[in-house]
Symmetry: C2
Subunit: 385 residues, 2 copies
C-alpha cells in the first residue's frame, strides 16, 4: 500500500508538531487511501523499521498533538553518509513511499538533498522548515522562531523592569550558533530609547570582552542599568566562537561538526569579567539555554498557524516533486512556497547588515522586522523609577 513518511530532525520548537499535523491532514485529504507513517527519531527510525502509523489519528489527538511543543515523533542529529542513505532509500522503497517529508533545519534539508541525489525511485523528498535560529535561506522567517522570539522579548521587558527597580547589569546568553536573530529579537518590543536591551551581541559582528566591558560602562553610566542580549555563538575577530576560545579546545562537536555550546561556560566568563570591572555593581548573567525553544507557556498563534500551513504545503508538494518549503512574505502576507533543496541545504542565513547599527545594536529596520513577527507588546506601566 502506498505511503507518505514523515519525520522530525534536529532541535525542537514550540510548533514543530503543528507542521507534523499539517502534513498528516493534507496527505489524508489528497489521497485517503494512503498510509501515513511517522519515523521515530528521524531517519534513524526508517533504518530500524521503527515507525508509527498516523493514518487513523483522531481529530482530537491531532489537535492535542499540534499544540504540544517539541518533536512528537522524536528527533535525531544523525548525519547520513552514502551507506546510511542507501539503507534509508531501501526502507522507503519497502514502504512504497511516495514522499518523505522531513521537518527540520538546514542539516535536515542537507540529508534530504543527499537522499534525492542518490535516489533512483519515485519517492519525493520534501523539507518542511523549522528552527528557532531563523537561519534558513529563502525564508522570510522560519516556523518556530516567532514563539522563541516571543519568549525572549518577554524576558527582556521583564529584566528591564527588574533592573529599573534595583540598578545593575544583566546579561542573558541566548541560543544562536551562527545567526543572531533570536538574540536580536530581544529588541522587538523596544519603545523608549532607554528600553532594554541596551546592547546586543550576535555571531555576525566580531566580539571582544574588552569592547563589551567598555560598552557596558558607557550604558551603565548613562542609563543607570545595562541589559544585554548575547548570542551563545559570539565570535572573536578571527571568527572563533568565544565559548570555544574560553574552553581552550575542550569542546565537543556533533555529527554535523557543530560545536556543542552550552552557553554556561560563556556566561561564567562574562560574569567574572563583569565582577572584575564593576566590583560594586549588581551584575548577573543568566543563560536562557533550552527554555525559549519549546516552552509550553509561550506558543505564538501566528507561529502555530504558519507551522501547520508549512506542513500541509509540504505534503501537497510531495505529490509533485522534491523541494524545500519556505515562508515567503510579499509585504502583506506570509505564505508557503517551494524552492529546490540545494537552495536551503547546509546553508546558513545570517542577519542582514541592514538589521545592525554598529556592532552592538539593532537598526530601526531590524526592529521593524521583529515587531512585525512578534505579537503586540503587552500594554504595561512605566515604573516610577
Amino acid at each position: 500500500m502506498p505511503s507518505i513518511v514523515i519525520a522530525q530532525g534536529g532541535g525542537p520548537t514550540a510548533v514543530i508538531n503543528q507542521t507534523l499535523c499539517g502534513a498528516i491532514v493534507a496527505a489524508r485529504r489528497h489521497d485517503p487511501s494512503l498510509r501515513i507513517l511517522g519515523a521515530r527519531h528521524g531517519v534513524r527510525g526508517l533504518t530500524r523499521g521503527d515507525l508509527v502509523d498516523l493514518t487513523a489519528l483522531s481529530e482530537s489527538d491531532l489537535e492535542r498533538l499540534a499544540r504540544t511543543p517539541n518533536s512528537g515523533l522524536g528527533s535525531t542529529r544523525d548525519k547520513p553518509d552514502p551507506a546510511y542513505c542507501q539503507t534509508i532509500l531501501q526502507a522507503l522503497e519497502k514502504l512504497d513511499a511516495r514522499g518523505f517529508i522531513y521537518i527540520g533545519g538546514n542539516d535536515t534539508a542537507g540529508t534530504l538533498d543527499l537522499l534525492r541525489q542518490q535516489s533512483t525511485g519515485s519517492c519525493s523528498f520534501v523539507h518542511a522548515p523549522k528552527t528557532i535560529d531563523n537561519d534558513l535561506m529563502e525564508n522570510d522567517h522560519v516556523p518556530g522562531f516567532i514563539s522563541a522570539a516571543a519568549f525572549v522579548a518577554n524576558a527582556f521587558v521583564s529584566m528591564d523592569l527588574d533592573f529599573r527597580a534595583m540598578p545593575g547589569i544583566y546579561v542573558a546568553i541566548v541560543m544562536g550558533r551562527h545567526a543572531g536573530f533570536l538574540s536580536a529579537a530581544a529588541a522587538g518590543w523596544q519603545q523608549a530609547p532607554e528600553d532594554a536591551p541596551h546592547l546586543i551581541y550576535t555571531p555576525e559582528r566580531p566580539f571582544s570582552v574588552e569592547q563589551f566591558l567598555n560598552d557596558v560602562d558607557t550604558v551603565y553610566t548613562r542609563v543607570g542599568r545595562c541589559i544585554v542580549s548575547m548570542s551563545e555563538g559570539v565570535q572573536d575577530e578571527a571568527g572563533r566562537p568565544l565559548a570555544e576560545v574560553l574552553a581552550a579546545g575542550a569542546v565537543e562537536r556533533d555529527a554535523h561538526g557543530n560545536v556543542q555550546l552550552t552557553g554556561g561556560d560563556l556566561g561564567i566568563e562574562i560574569q567574572k569579567a563583569l565582577k572584575q570591572r564593576f566590583p560594586k555593581a549588581r551584575a548577573r548573567v543568566d543563560t536562557l539555554g533550552y527554555l525559549p525553544r519549546g516552552y509550553l507557556g509561550i506558543i505564538d498563534e501566528t507561529d502555530a498557524k504558519e507551522a501547520f500551513e508549512a506542513g500541509a504545503f509540504a505534503a501537497q508538494s510531495a505529490f509533485t516533486g522534491s523541494g524545500s518549503v519556505v515562508l515567503h512574505y510579499d509585504g502583506k502576507r506570509t505564505s508557503p512556497r517551494i524552492v529546490s533543496l540545494d537552495q536551503v541545504a547546509g546553508r546558513t542565513r545570517h542577519m542582514p547588515d541592514s538589521f545592525f547599527t554598529g556592532a552592538n545594536a539593532v537598526s530601526d529596520q531590524g526592529r521593524a522586522y521583529f515587531r512585525r513577527l512578534l505579537p503586540p507588546r503587552p500594554d504595561i506601566f512605566t515604573p516610577f523609577v
Copy 2:
C-alpha cells in the same frame, strides 16, 4: 495632611504591583482625604524624601500598573540599623503618616518590626507579603509564588518533551536560597510516574554530588532520560551551600548577610560532574536565574487576584494597627489575615517533611499542594517516543 506611605522591598515578583494597587484602592476607599505616597526604592526613598504621590493615580494607570511585573516603585536591600530607623521614623512623622505599608519578604517584615519597636508615634507598620520563595511563616502560600511556580512547571513539561525527543540528562538550577518550594513546584504538573522532574534537590535535604550522580544514573538507565530540578541553595551535610563550597570562600553577602548565589557557578560544576560521569550522554544544565520571578509572559490570574487582595487588606489593617498580612487557606478558600510582625519577621518557612519522599522526590501530599496552587496543566499529547 495625613498620609499612608507604601514601599516595596527585596526581589521582585510578577504580581508585586497588584499588591501596591490593592493598597492604594483600599486606602482611598477608607479615607478619600488621605494622601497616598509611594517611597522610591523602599525605605531608602523615605530617608531621602524621594516620594511619588499616588493619590490621584487614574483607574487606567492603576490597571496597567497592577498587571506590570516587578516593583513599580523600585526596591532596595537596605537593612536599617537603629540610626537608619530613626531617620525613617522622622520622615514618616513629617509626612503625618497614619500607616506605612511595606511590601516584601521576611527581611522587609524584619525592618517593619524594628521600626514598630522604635516608634513612639501613632503610625502603624503593616507588612504585605510577596516572595517567589514562598518561605514566609504563617502563610499557606505567598503572593508571587504561583506565577513563578507556573513558569517552572511549564519549563519542566517542556524539557521533559525535549528529552523524550532526544534522550539525555537535563538539570535546571532554580532560585531558592533556603526553601525549596520553587524547585519542588516543578513536580506540580506530574501525571504519569515517568513524567519530569525525575529528581528534585532542595536546601531542606543534604546534597552530595556523588549521591546526585548515582541518582541520575539510576533514573537515566531506567527511563532513558533524566530531568532534574535543583535549588541554587542546595547544601552539604554540614549545611554549607554547595555554591559557597564550590566558590571556595569567594562569595559575597548582601546587607542582610544573605550569600549572593548566582546559580551559574553551581551549574558549571554540575555540568562538569555530569560530563565526567556520563561522557557519552547529552547532558545540559540551565540556570533559570531571574526568569521565573517576574516574567511578563506568565502571570497567574489567581496569584494576581490574591496579591491585590493582600494589598487591600494591608491598607485596611493599617488603620487599626501593625502586623503582617498572611494568606490563610481554610481547606476551601484562600483569604488574607493579619498576624503580629514577629511571627514573620526574619524567619524562614521550609518545606514540611511531609512534602518529601526520601531526599530527592516530592511526596503525593507535596504534589497535591502545588497542584492546588498551579493553574490546570495544559492538555498535551503524549509523544510517540
